[in-house]
């Protein structure tokens, strides 16, 4: 005997195979939604897992302070003794070389190259003992023999380096050659946002490098704590102690973690965002298809009701069908997600660690898929409530899903509307245009699907593109607390830094190719924090009022200070408030003149008016180039002339600093572009297919009374184009207006130092290419689907 379940399934199977086009399109949309949700969830789980795993194995420091120059070991000992929360500490000695000083050679192929494209510091160091370990592929901490070196994994892909290659380091006393013995993963400096990368060498080679000259010796004081959460407190205490070394950057565990998860985490967030938008699109679509199906099959439903099948059983038939379809989509999407996740997290696994598969690895994607399934089924159930309202007589006699009273109400509504619409009234649209508009109005409930889908597709497409444009824009430096300029020179710490600065400035100011040369010094001030005096890094110089965009207020004049958003929050200050600072024992109160956005140095910076001072922690010089000159050539020239200065074109500085973020955003933008266009095409196709079936009689009448097929087709295409354009334009406007605060608050919540994100999009991409791509897609689908109408016998439209 047949069970009810198997009957439902057989009905579902027959129905699904019987109406292939519509169900296939629906399946594809549902599968894409499931795929993206699962992939996003899995990438997130894997990335966090990989980062966690690497952190677990490599034990990065909870707080570190970089320093150039002498170190008072006793002061460090005393500090450690006073702080029982310190589990372990050490001072890592490193020698930094410029990328240009490093070259490689491969025998026997003879391939060679150098690392001059890498703008970050190349630090040579030995393997650590207790924590902050540099790990090879197996998770072991390698100790290279003399003559060997382990390179950062990122260099393997960036410069195509291999084990066995010869690395040559140019020092002041000749070059040192080391064989590449392997690659190491570095929990502390894996991200492109960090300003340095580390090479491991043997003790003997390290001493050689240290003594050879040409490199910059650097010390990193590192602390491992019992509780990672105490890092901020330790930092404050450390900075309050005058005897401790601290003329370089200070970094906490939270920053390392954030920086590590930022790039790939952003892709995962983007995937989930795209997935959620797709679910909304899929739901709209399912609703449209179910309502259409109920209308098409109203007589069958009427017959089932007439023979006494309960409403629940009838809805059950449909629910089984969509349940099967959604389950299939979830399985297909989930399987595809497995492959995609493998591809997307390959670099994460290389740079970080291969995360072990845990319970979460299975639960997270399954939960994402279950969510998709639940959403779709709940919607189906809601739409299928209409079955209850269908009346037997209305269904069987009039083929109407509406009961008698509802049908009468609809007719009255139509009549009322028709009374007012007079074709004869004036208007420049022509008969065809007017008919199309009237039809759009009358069938707005159906047609609204297209603008909605295109609205969502536009948002889907333009938000990542807006963000990418912002990160890639040369104006983005204004989010990095710096003025927009063409060339940037960073002076490295050296004994004669002040002389080098004066020499560099003199040269640049005399150079006719350069204008607006501005020098700034970073001074370490102290200010009152929660627990006494703490360090405040202040960039001192002549701040041009228009150089950077201030979120509030303006640039600092004499006696004034401007704070980064995070600093203003930290000290609870706003414009006009006073901030007591001291330097060299001299205390003054500066008035806050403005608040600006900054993502560099963890977002904690300040700017004050003043002269370029001696004894500064760092110096930076910005300059613009005159039209017709090449910033890159000039930068290289200065870079070669001044050993202890890094001079680079600003565009390159931004590009390299943000390479991981922009790389991730590029993938996200590409993925969302492809998906938006694909889904827009699919849904337009599906919608028009069903719509053309519904409009057969209308088209037949128009054909009989003398409208040409061309005109009938033009009406359909015109309606589609209008719906598509309205949706796309609204989507673009939404993304440009509401999208900005939306993304801004998300980034702000992430604590990156961006409080008020202003999109700096590539206008051609966002306002021309993206909308045009969507509109063209919609139109081409309409053209493709309506073209065959020309070959059809028109009487079939009237005769069913």
């Amino acid at each position: 005997m047949e069970t009810k379940g198997s009957l439902y399934l057989r009905y579902a199977y027959n129905d699904l195979t019987g109406n292939k086009g519509v169900h296939l399109a629906l399946l594809v949309v549902l599968t894409l939604s499931a795929f993206l949700m699962a992939t996003g969830a899995m990438v997130m789980e894997r990335t966090l897992g990989s980062v966690d795993e690497l952190f677990e194995q490599a034990r990065p420091p909870h707080f570190l302070q970089m320093h150039v120059g002498d170190i008072d070991d006793d002061a460090l000992e005393r500090f450690a003794d006073r702080h029982p929360e310190i589990e372990a500490w050490h001072v890592v000695e490193a020698v930094g070389f410029d990328g240009a000083a490093l070259s490689w050679e491969r025998s026997p192929t003879g391939g060679s190259g150098d690392l001059s494209d890498s703008l970050i510091d190349q630090l040579f160091t030995t393997q650590n003992e207790e924590f902050d370990l540099l790990l090879d592929e197996t998770g072991a901490a390698p100790r290279p023999a003399p003559g060997e070196t382990y390179l950062p994994v990122a260099h393997r892909t960036a410069f195509d380096l291999r084990v066995g290659d010869e690395l040559r380091i140019a020092t002041d006393s000749g070059s040192l050659e080391l064989r590449v013995a392997g690659f190491v993963r570095d929990a502390q400096m894996a991200s492109s946002l960090s300003s340095a990368t580390r090479f491991v060498v043997s003790e003997a080679d390290f001493e050689t490098l240290e003594g050879a000259g040409g490199g910059t010796p650097e010390s990193i004081v590192e602390y491992r704590l019992n509780d990672a959460g105490a890092a901020a407190d330790l930092q404050r205490a450390y900075e309050a102690d005058d005897a401790l070394p601290k003329n370089g950057q200070a970094v906490t565990y939270q920053m390392i973690r954030l920086v590590n998860a930022f790039g790939d985490g952003l892709v995962a967030v983007a995937l989930v965002f795209v997935g959620l938008l797709l679910i909304v699109i899929a739901l709209l679509n399912v609703r449209f298809v179910i309502r259409g199906t109920l209308e098409d099959e109203v007589r069958e439903i009427g017959a089932m009701k007439a023979i006494g099948l309960p409403d629940r059983a009838i809805s059950g038939l449909y629910l089984t069908k969509y349940g099967v379809l959604t389950a299939l989509a979830c399985v297909l999407g989930g399987l595809a997600a497995l492959v995609a996740t493998g591809l997307l997290t390959r670099s994460v696994q290389v740079d970080y660690a291969d995360a072990p598969l845990g319970l979460a690895s299975f639960v997270v994607p399954v939960a994402a898929l279950a969510l998709v399934y639940a959403f779709v089924l709940l919607l189906c159930r809601a739409v299928l409530r209409r079955v209850r309202r269908i009346e037997v007589v209305g269904a069987l006699v009039h083929g109407s899903v509406l009961g008698e009273r509802r049908a009468a109400r609809r007719d009255r509504r139509r009549a009322r509307r028709a009374r007012g619409t007079v074709l004869a009234s004036t208007g420049g649209l022509g008969v065809n245009g007017r008919l199309a508009l009237l039809d759009l109005r009358a069938e707005a409930g159906q047609w609204v699907l297209l603008p909605l889908v295109f609205f969502l597709a536009t948002v889907l497409m333009t938000l990542p593109a807006n963000l990418l444009g912002t990160f890639e824009s040369p104006r983005f430096v204004t989010y990095m607390g710096a003025a927009e300029s063409d060339v940037r020179a960073d002076l490295l710490f050296s004994e004669d830094v002040d002389e080098v600065r004066d020499e560099l400035l003199r040269n640049m100011r005399e150079d006719e190719r350069l204008t607006d040369v501005r020098a700034f010094s970073t001074l370490l001030y102290e200010t009152r924090g929660e627990e006494g005096w703490e360090t405040l890094r202040v960039e001192v110089g002549e701040h041009d009022p228009d150089a950077i965009a201030y979120a509030y207020g303006g640039s600092p004049g004499p006696g004034e200070i401007a704070l980064s958003v995070l600093n203003a929050d930290e000290y609870g200050l706003s414009i006009g408030d006073g901030l007591a600072v001291r330097r060299g024992g001299e205390e003054t109160t500066l008035t806050v003149s403005g608040v600006y956005q900054d993502v560099t140095s963890g977002g904690f910076t300040a700017k004050a008016h003043g002269e370029e001072a001696t004894g500064a922690a760092g110096h930076v010089v910005y300059a613009n180039t005159v039209p017709g000159t090449d910033a890159a050539t000039i930068a290289t020239e200065y870079d070669e002339r001044f050993d202890t200065a890094t001079v680079i074109p600003m565009r390159e500085y931004v590009r390299q600093t943000l390479s991981q973020v922009t790389g991730a955003l590029q993938s996200a933008t590409l993925v969302s572009f492809v998906f938006a266009v694909g889904v827009a095409a699919l849904i337009t196709g599906l919608f028009l297919r069903l719509r053309l079936t519904r409009e057969r009689t209308r088209m037949g009448v128009l054909s009989a009374i003398g409208f040409s097929t061309g005109e009938i087709i033009a009406q359909v295409r015109g309606k589609t184009l209008l719906a598509v354009v309205v949706g796309t334009v609204l989507g673009t406007v939404f993304a440009a207006t509401a999208g900005e605060p939306m993304v801004g608050s998300l980034l702000s919540a992430a604590g990156l130092g961006l409080a008020h994100l202003e999109f700096l999009p590539n206008p051609w991409l966002v306002y021309v290419a993206c909308p045009l791509a969507l509109i063209t897609t919609g139109h081409l689908i309409a053209v493709a689907l309506t073209a065959p109408l020309r070959r059809v016998d028109k009487s079939t439209w009237l005769r069913g």
Binding site: D411, R412, R414, A415, R416, R417, A418, R419, T421, V422, L423, A424, G430, V431, L435, L438, D439, R441, A442, T697, R698, G700, V701, S703, A704, I705, G706, F707, S708, T709, G710, E711, R790, D793, K794, S795, L798, R799
Partner: protein, 264 residues
């Protein structure tokens, strides 16, 4: 009995519409179905011709093929000597707009236009500049067929008979020389059928050539001539002479006897 493939009617003074070797085959079925089979048919100017036959005999297909809605597989259709099969879609729809009118079993009105606008639509399409003239013609037609009071009514607010008379108004608004009617009374009760047939007879009397497909001998009895279709081929034809209300039942009886002889 040999199957005459030529219309045996007398040669009228002027041929309004003629088909030569008209064949329509549907290739979507397996094997292909020949629905119209080599039909030669002439309709005289001003004639009222009725096409009869059993269900599935190809009556409606013949109507849609000779009116240019569908393209024939073979053969030609001549409208006042001009071959319609050689026209492209735009030219053909212009011919339908200005020279032909259609009345269907269902009125097939656009639900979002009122009765008046539905009738006005083809007129505006034919001469968008002459709105005044078009509106005047619509008003005159509504008056003539006694439905002026439903001009601004919605299509669901009038009776079937009124709707079908409105449908005749729509067919006539461009003053065509040819009117095609496909079972125009098929969905109506007897009173409404009379109303509609009176209207069509009136149209015919005013000089319009009328080609009508029907099942109903009562309606067919109003024709000048009836042709009979079986399996897509014309098998017989009967001259009926001019209709008058007094001789209505006599003509109907006569027609029924003839139809019985053909196995109707």
């Amino acid at each position: 009995m040999t199957r005459p493939t030529t219309d045996p009617g007398t040669e009228p003074a002027r041929i309004a519409l003629a088909s030569r070797g008209l064949t329509k085959t549907y290739h979507s079925t397996d094997p292909p179905t020949r629905v119209i089979d080599d039909v030669d048919l002439s309709v005289a100017s001003g004639e009222f011709l009725v096409v009869m036959g059993t269900s599935g005999s190809g009556k409606s297909t013949l109507l849609y093929t000779i009116s240019g809605m569908d393209r024939p597989t073979e053969g030609s259709v001549l409208l006042e000597g001009r071959d319609l099969t050689s026209l492209d879609d735009r030219e053909m729809s212009r011919v339908r707009l200005t020279r032909m009118g259609f009345v269907f079993q269902q009125a097939h009105f656009l639900a979002n236009l009122n009765i008046g606008d539905n009738i006005l639509l083809p007129a505006l399409q034919a001469a968008p500049k002459d709105k005044k003239g078009a509106i005047a013609r619509v008003d005159a037609l509504l008056e003539r067929f006694g439905i002026a009071h439903v001009r601004r009514h919605g299509v669901t607010q009038v009776s079937g008979g009124q709707l079908q008379r409105a449908s005749i108004c729509r067919a006539l608004v461009c003053e065509p020389s040819l009117l095609f009617a496909d079972e125009p009374t098929g969905a109506l009760n007897s009173r409404m059928t009379e109303e509609v047939m009176d209207a069509l007879t009136d149209v015919h009397r005013s000089g319009t050539t009328l080609v009508m497909v029907t099942h109903d001998p009562g309606c067919a009895a109003r024709a000048d001539r009836v042709v009979y279709l079986r399996d897509g081929a014309l098998v017989d034809s009967r001259e009926m002479g001019t209709w008058s209300p007094e001789r209505a039942s006599e003509r109907e009886d006569d027609l029924i006897t003839w139809l019985r002889g053909l196995g109707f």
